[in-house]
């Protein structure tokens, strides 16, 4: 029997992986070949999807990008024995894009069958939980603190400190909430984990529950991720059946229940307090802080709310120790960051590297430059609220503090490249328009400021009183920066002003307006 892997990751599916999988099964049947088809997650080499792999004695061999029409010829060339074919990519692990990575959180993604508990356990899964089950809650929190893990959702708040606050808070009921409302354009690492290795998230949340004394968890997932929903629910059922979720986890007497809840297309619900409002069944209006969710969170109870990647990084920290994880990275950014290459790049996909790799390495060594073949003009890092970074700053290392020093944000690690055909005043306008569409409406700078921002940029683009309107735009941005309740209004000026500061010519502004 030969194992053939065809991903069921939504990106691979969006390029026809389902038809490829059917063709493999059908043709193997016609030829009487004994093939076992595994629907894995994606390795994250998205420009090669659908990427089919075959298990051989030498290791897994990849072919891609494969269409359903190619499958017949793959069989003709005996791909099951690793036969040569025009789409041959050689040993998967030797593909440079993949070989030159440090995969800790993504160690299993693309390798295992995502919904097989047996496969997960066979690939070092649940070792972190086994260790945590014999540790005191404070010891678990210490281990996470020691690792230096900071929130991967974007705010980079130390995870251990958040957990310690919840551990110390009084409450008859505590909750673990996973923020899986991955709404930032250019980001898909949460989706890849949930589709490609959902057990690692479930394990991370279970460990969080043990650490702070929470018995119930919710994953707040965006509706745009139907395939993640399917795999998460399948994995939750399997974990329950295997005694890794529910009452009396692995005979320990400990309890943790987990449920997936679906959002409804509101970007602002990625803001933690808005998310909690939504989970409680209300409009996603941002709450004032304090009280912190750690003290008074979901249904008024102490709540850990963490991003998918933060929680999915916990199992390896508990399995191998906080100091193992801490040894990766630079400065105060410890461990690894799953970087997502998107937009106008030749080689898009997922690169997990220790902090410190430069943006230029990411864009050219991994990304291979622009897909259109034109020069890369600007890169938006960190989602729609992240700054546009010009070529002159491409040598910046990916590190929270280094980006902050440039008045930019690393955020959730999304990198979207634009070639020189982009009009940056149009992107600035879009930044304001997006904020106007998605504002929850609670605070005035965000609700009104974004609409006025669109109007002012329209005037600038029409060439009306450009100097006065540029001054007005900076004024308005100041108000939004300083006066908004949350990051939506408070960070929309990042893409807007960075576009203006680095590319004043696109606004018809005199060059001396740069960084005024």
């Amino acid at each position: 029997m030969v194992k053939v892997y065809v991903p069921r990751d939504s990106c691979a599916l969006s390029l026809g992986a389902e038809a490829v999988a059917s063709a493999v099964t059908r043709i193997a049947g016609q030829r009487g070949l004994d093939v076992s088809l595994v629907r894995n997650g994606s390795r994250g080499l998205y420009w090669l999807e659908p990427m089919v792999e075959v298990e051989t004695p030498q290791g897994r061999i990849a072919f891609g990008p494969v269409t359903a029409q190619d499958v017949e010829s793959l069989f003709d060339q005996d791909f099951l024995s690793g036969g040569q074919h025009a789409l041959s990519l050689g040993l998967t692990e030797e593909i440079p894009f993949l070989k030159n990575q440090e995969r800790l959180t993504f160690a299993r993604v693309g390798i295992t069958d995502p919904v097989s508990l047996e496969d997960y356990v066979a690939h070092e899964g649940y070792q972190g939980l086994r260790n945590a089950l014999v540790m005191a809650p404070a010891q678990i929190v210490d281990e996470v603190t020691e690792s230096g893990l900071r929130g991967r959702g974007g705010a980079a708040f130390p995870t251990g400190i958040k957990w310690r606050t919840v551990l110390g808070a009084e409450g008859d009921q505590k909750y673990i909430v996973c923020n899986a409302d991955e709404g930032d354009s250019g980001t898909f690492s949460d989706r890849m984990i949930m589709e490609g290795d959902p057990f690692v998230l479930i394990e991370g949340m279970t460990i969080a529950g043990l650490a702070v004394g929470a018995t119930k968890g919710y994953i707040y997932l965006r509706f745009e991720y139907p395939h993640a929903e399917r795999n998460l629910n399948a994995a939750i059922r399997a974990a329950e059946a295997g005694g890794f979720l529910g009452d009396n986890i692995q005979g320990s007497g400990k309890t943790f229940h987990l449920e997936v809840r679906i959002g409804a297309g509101a970007y602002v619900c990625g803001e933690e307090t808005s998310l909690l409002e939504s989970l409680e069944g209300r409009r996603g209006l941002v709450r004032f802080k304090p009280p912190l969710p750690a003290i008074k969170g979901l249904f008024g109870k102490p709540t850990v709310i963490n991003n998918v990647i933060s929680l999915a990084s916990v199992p390896i920290i508990l399995a191998k120790g906080g100091s193992y994880y801490k040894d990766f990275g630079m400065g105060r950014s410890r461990g690894t960051l799953p970087i997502q290459l998107a937009g106008n790049l030749k080689q898009t996909g997922l690169v997990e590297r220790a902090f410190g790799v430069t943006l230029r390495e990411i864009l050219y060594d991994y990304g291979g430059g622009s897909q259109s073949g034109r020069p890369i003009k600007a890169v938006q890092v960190g989602g729609p609220l992240g700054a546009y970074v010009p070529e002159s700053q491409f040598d910046t290392p990916l590190d929270y503090e280094a980006f902050a020093a440039l008045w930019a944000v690393l955020g959730h690690g999304g990198v979207v490249a634009f070639d020189d055909s982009v009009d940056m005043s149009k992107m600035a306008r879009y930044g304001m328009e997006f904020c106007a569409t998605e504002s929850c409406g609670k605070c005035t700078p965000c609700r009104i400021g974004s609409t006025r921002g669109v109007e002012v940029i329209d005037h600038i683009r029409e060439g009306k009183n450009v100097s006065e309107n540029l001054k007005l735009l900076r004024d308005l941005s100041d108000t939004m920066l300083a006066g908004s309740l949350c990051a939506l209004g408070g960070m929309t000026p990042y893409p807007v002003l960075s576009a203006l500061n680095h590319f004043p010519e696109d606004f018809g502004a005199p060059a001396d307006n740069a960084s005024a």
Partner: protein, 159 residues
């Protein structure tokens, strides 16, 4: 997926099954929309009564979230991504093409009732931009030509 008319018995059954869980409103609205294709305005008082909320509160929640709709959709809903990554790969052109070839703007249904068009801000398919989603199926690297081919293929099929 149903539309045009709606079934109050089905809706009442959904509400009854879900109303006792904490934070039940979003799960109930999802279940109703999955079943009926939209949240009929006539169901608002029924939901409000079951959850001990005002009609205004239920209406407020439905209208806050882009995904919930109060009018019947086409037989298939096309979500077209407008976010930055897709823009960097030409989604503006795709958007104009989609509107012209379907003959509708966002939030409208085609005359034959086959399609609705909705904007969406990121499908997480940014590595294969531009992207669209039709009901729960995602398509990547969608050129105008590929858009036409996909639309032709799903037209008349029942999801």
């Amino acid at each position: 997926m149903k539309h045009d008319d709606w079934d109050s018995k089905e809706i009442e059954a959904v509400i009854e099954a879900l109303k006792d869980q904490p934070g039940a409103l979003l799960p109930i609205l999802h279940a109703i929309q999955d079943q009926q294709g939209f949240v009929p305005p006539e169901s608002v008082p029924v939901i409000a009564e079951a959850l001990n909320l005002t009609r205004a509160e239920v209406h407020g929640v439905i209208t806050f979230y882009h995904y919930f709709r109060q009018t019947p959709p086409g037989r298939k809903t096309i979500h077209l991504c407008r976010a930055e990554s897709c823009q960097s790969m030409g989604s503006d052109v795709l958007e104009a093409h989609a509107k012209a070839s379907l003959g509708i703007d966002y939030h409208e249904n085609t005359k034959d009732g086959e399609f609705s068009l909705e904007p969406v801000y990121c499908l997480g398919n940014c590595a294969c931009s531009p992207a669209i989603m039709i009901d729960k199926e995602i398509f990547g690297r969608v050129t105008p030509e590929r858009f036409d081919a996909i639309v032709e293929e799903v037209r008349g099929t029942h999801g």
